[in-house]
């Protein structure tokens, strides 16, 4: 169970992107702070490309294998969460209606006693 919880926490805590406008302002501000110097010649590593392809393909294969097991666990987990959320909605509405009923009873009793007073006049 610990592993599953940890895996779900990792999923929830995947980094989120900052808002787009903030991101652009950040870049502009940080870059503006640096002095400009001549750009050195960029050397691209051609020999790195086949290695990259192989690593990517291996990673994809591992992911495909893992997805099947993970999907089953996720379905179970989502069902638990959904039932809990449903239970809370029902409880919230039940409590709300209970208190609305208190108000209704008070108003009704007041109307009844006012009616009794009027008929007695």
């Amino acid at each position: 169970m610990s592993q599953e919880i940890e895996s779900r926490m990792r999923a929830a805590l995947r980094p989120v992107a900052p808002p787009e406008d903030f991101s652009q302002k950040l870049l502009a501000r940080v870059i503006a702070d640096r002095p400009t110097l001549p750009k050195p010649r960029r050397i691209f590593s051609e020999s790195a490309r086949p290695l990259m392809w192989w690593l990517t393909a291996s990673l994809a294969a591992c992911l495909i294998l893992a997805v099947g097991v993970q999907r089953h666990l996720e379905q179970q987990r989502l069902q638990q969460s959904g039932l809990e959320a449903r239970r809370e909605v029902v409880e919230a509405l039940r409590l709300t209606s209970q208190k609305l009923n208190l108000a209704y009873e008070a108003v009704k009793n007041q109307s009844t006693s006012l009616g009794d007073e009027e008929s007695g006049v």
Partner: protein, 187 residues
Amino acid sequence: MKKRSLPIFLVLLAPALAWAAPNPKLAIPEFTGLAQKATESVTITLDPALLAMAGRFLDGNDPQDAATQEIIKGLRGIYVRSFTFDKDSAYQQADIDAVRAQLAAPGWNRLVETHSRKTRANVDIYIMVDNNQAIGLALIASEPRQFTIVNIIGAIDLDKLHKLEGQFGVPKLDIDLSKTPAPGAQK
């Protein structure tokens, strides 16, 4: 107005405009001290994602679930805090006053304020209306051994709420939004 002053004017005005927009979400304290004294406590925090998830698990073929689905469709949040104690006066009105004070803010209208000698229960119901539509509901119920705060955010359809009559035991409320009273007018 000089050209240079206009942007400054708008910048100064913007926070005021943002502040003026009604916000139906209350800041409800955790009441940790009271929770420790309570024999029962209910804390429900349902944000839009949880409401959407709950909606998917409600059975449309079941009348109660279907009615619940209809209610929560337009909602963006349901927040409940309820504490029950084993003796009278275990909590102070001051504990709830921090929430009550927020309902004096512009936008909130007191719909109903009831005091029952029989049950010794006080129930206040507030509603926030924008463009003739309810966008928030706040309910504070204080009883000798229990208090409950409910805050519902979103497009509350009061017609659908009172169609739940008999489902959750919700009474017919006879509320006409076009006659929403001015703040403090309802007694």
